[in-house]
């Protein structure tokens, strides 16, 4: 396959286990793309608390697209607003929309048709990917800060599930173009984020299989986040274990060193496992001793991503 830069697709879906730093990686990718002159939209999906815009030092955007930084726009896609926009698109006229959708019973149906909330939210995101203004694409890149593993698969599976189960009709028609966009490797890629730890690595390996197999989507890259530096070699690590029993100040310092060495060693093993199991362009991001996550930290992650863009695991 011709090598396609991570940010050269129209849609990049970022996912991984909960707590691995998906949102931070998303924000950093947005920074990089904007620096390369791209117009970027970052979508969060029904986030209880929006995080992308605040990470970039901007106020939360809410359910409407808003510019966070020059060239970077953010939105928190909610079922309610996505449904409204979708309804307006299908029905064309606001008055009809209001007559139909403000009807309690109708809203009940729409909420309860399985997958419809996911469909309209994903539909909103994919609609932005296709949108054109004055004959050119509205966005050079749409980044989807997808939910954690299970929920992400559930979200991305909705179009194909509907194509399989729903007879011909408007719902089916929309599901079809959405599905076509998702599985087109030239337009859409998935970036998997993980930590070099046991559970996240297990989960990302499983997720890779689901994304390629069940969803039929292209995995564009693996991002291994928060890799501790190899600061002590094996011989030193063994020595530190011995020195940790010494009185202060050496004892505590050696204990901190021992713990760091253990973590780094384990992380190295899990990185090897992930690489061996996933033949993917991989970026390893350093563990930042960061206390407050904000624009400065995102900038550092962006710099690390720029310095080591996803490289082929087995060239």
């Amino acid at each position: 396959m011709a090598s396609l830069g991570l940010l050269d697709r129209r849609l990049l879906v970022v996912t991984g286990k909960g707590g691995v730093g998906k949102t931070t990686v998303c924000a950093a990718l947005a920074l990089l793309a904007a620096r390369a002159g791209k117009r970027v939209l970052v979508c969060e999906v029904n986030a209880t608390r929006e995080r992308v815009a605040p990470l970039l030092g901007a106020p939360a955007s809410g359910p409407f697209v808003r510019e966070a930084l020059p060239g970077i726009f953010t939105v928190n896609v909610t079922p309610h607003e996505a449904m409204r926009e979708y309804g307006l698109m299908v029905l064309k006229f606001r008055t009809i929309y209001e007559a139909v959708f403000e009807n309690r019973l109708v809203r009940y149906f729409l909420r309860m048709v399985p997958g419809l909330a996911e469909l309209v939210m994903l539909g909103k995101v994919l609609h932005e990917v296709r949108a054109e203004d004055g004959g050119r694409p509205r966005w050079d890149l749409v980044l989807l800060d997808a939910p954690a593993t299970g929920h992400a698969v559930q979200l991305l599976r909705v179009p194909s599930a509907l194509v399989d189960t729903v007879p011909a009709g408007p719902l089916r028609h929309d599901a079809e173009w959405m599905q076509a966009l998702l599985v087109d490797p030239a337009r859409t890629g998935v970036a998997l984020v993980t930590l070099p730890e046991e559970m996240p690595v297990n989960e990302v390996i499983e997720l890779d299989g689901l994304v390629r197999g069940e969803l039929g989507m292209a995995v564009a890259a693996l991002v291994v986040n928060a890799m501790p530096p190899a600061r002590f070699d094996a011989r030193e690590a063994a020595e530190l274990a011995r020195l940790a029993a010494a009185p202060p100040p050496l004892g505590p310092a050696a204990e901190a060193g021992r713990i760091q060495a253990l973590r780094a060693e384990a992380a190295g093993r899990y990185l090897v496992r992930a690489r061996a199991a996933l033949d993917l362009p991989t970026t390893v991001l350093p563990l930042l001793p960061v206390v407050e996550w904000g624009p400065a930290a995102v900038g550092e992650i962006a710099a690390a991503l720029a310095a080591a863009p996803p490289a082929e695991a087995r060239p």
Binding site: R49, G87, V90, I96, N103, V113, F232, L250, A256
Partner: protein, 375 residues
Amino acid sequence: MTTVRESLGGRRVAVCVGAGGVGKTTAAAALALSRALEGGKVLVCTIDPARRLANALGLATLGNVESRVPEHKLAEAGLRPRGELWAMMLDVKRTWDDLVARHAPDPARRERILRNRLYQQMSAALAGSQEYMAMEKLYELATDRDYDLIVLDTPPTAHALDFLDAPDRILDFLGNETARALLAPALGAGRFGLRLAQLGGGYVAKTLARFTGQQVLSDLGDFLQGFQGMYDGFKERAGEVRAMLARPETGFVLVASPAAAAIEEALAFHERLHAESMPVAGLVVNRLTPDLWPAATPLPGAAELAAPLAAAAASAPDLGARLAATLAEHQAMAAAERRSLAGLLARVGAAHALVPRLEGDVHDLAGLARMADRL
């Protein structure tokens, strides 16, 4: 101060809640193991355990039924429990099917529901379905079996509170009388649209069908029709589940890590449980960076480490400097974690357990036992 284990002492049901990736499953298994060690028949019901933990518990071969963790596995880990440890892995689809089978008035009705396309999607994929079934299974286990303690590990919800809201939301769906009446295929004709039109919503029906397609609504009508008569049983049961969760013999265990998102979820959950008068038995904070240096004392520099390192015959190049930097980073992290946790610890009055980031992952019974000691 009482420990989380002690706080669960007199209870029969423990529900572990918290954000994804904070070690809920491990905490649930460790709590169950610790009670089994003290004596008592204990079940841990988990959703999606790490494979090695599943293997350690003998869960690999399990479906939706409980099985006892074999004595020899416990003995291999040097554990001699006075009680019994049982484990199971929740199968959402199977639990739904069992529920339908239990409430269906006759086999024909059961088959009609089980075959309905919407049911098949819903039981696997409807948001909240997993949470609802976890509650359902918990109630079944708590009422039909003789466990002294059941520990439930909850599914990773997109939003923590979904766990409490899901049953009501789904019941609202199943039990909406107006919807059922409207969607019920007209006798003979089988066209839901006619009924809706007769009720005066002609253009609403037409536009709705334009939106979803006629067939989807017909399926939904058929599905709701199938549930008619079963709904009362479901509703009654959901009421009982809720009542069980509010009883003093139940305890929620909040599980968090020092990550900001995990702390927020735990706080949100705590507020909600408090508002609903549901008993919080404890708070477990996993993956804490251990505090190694007194805050009031300045951290040592490379120079201060040089002499003791030399005395210990450890003289790798710049080892002192690397250690000083590592300790400083370590302590900065430890202090930051404690700052972010202060609010949560102050808010939650129940027993606390602060568990340092364990060396190596907890994936076997010995690891669980070590974790249990911290609870």
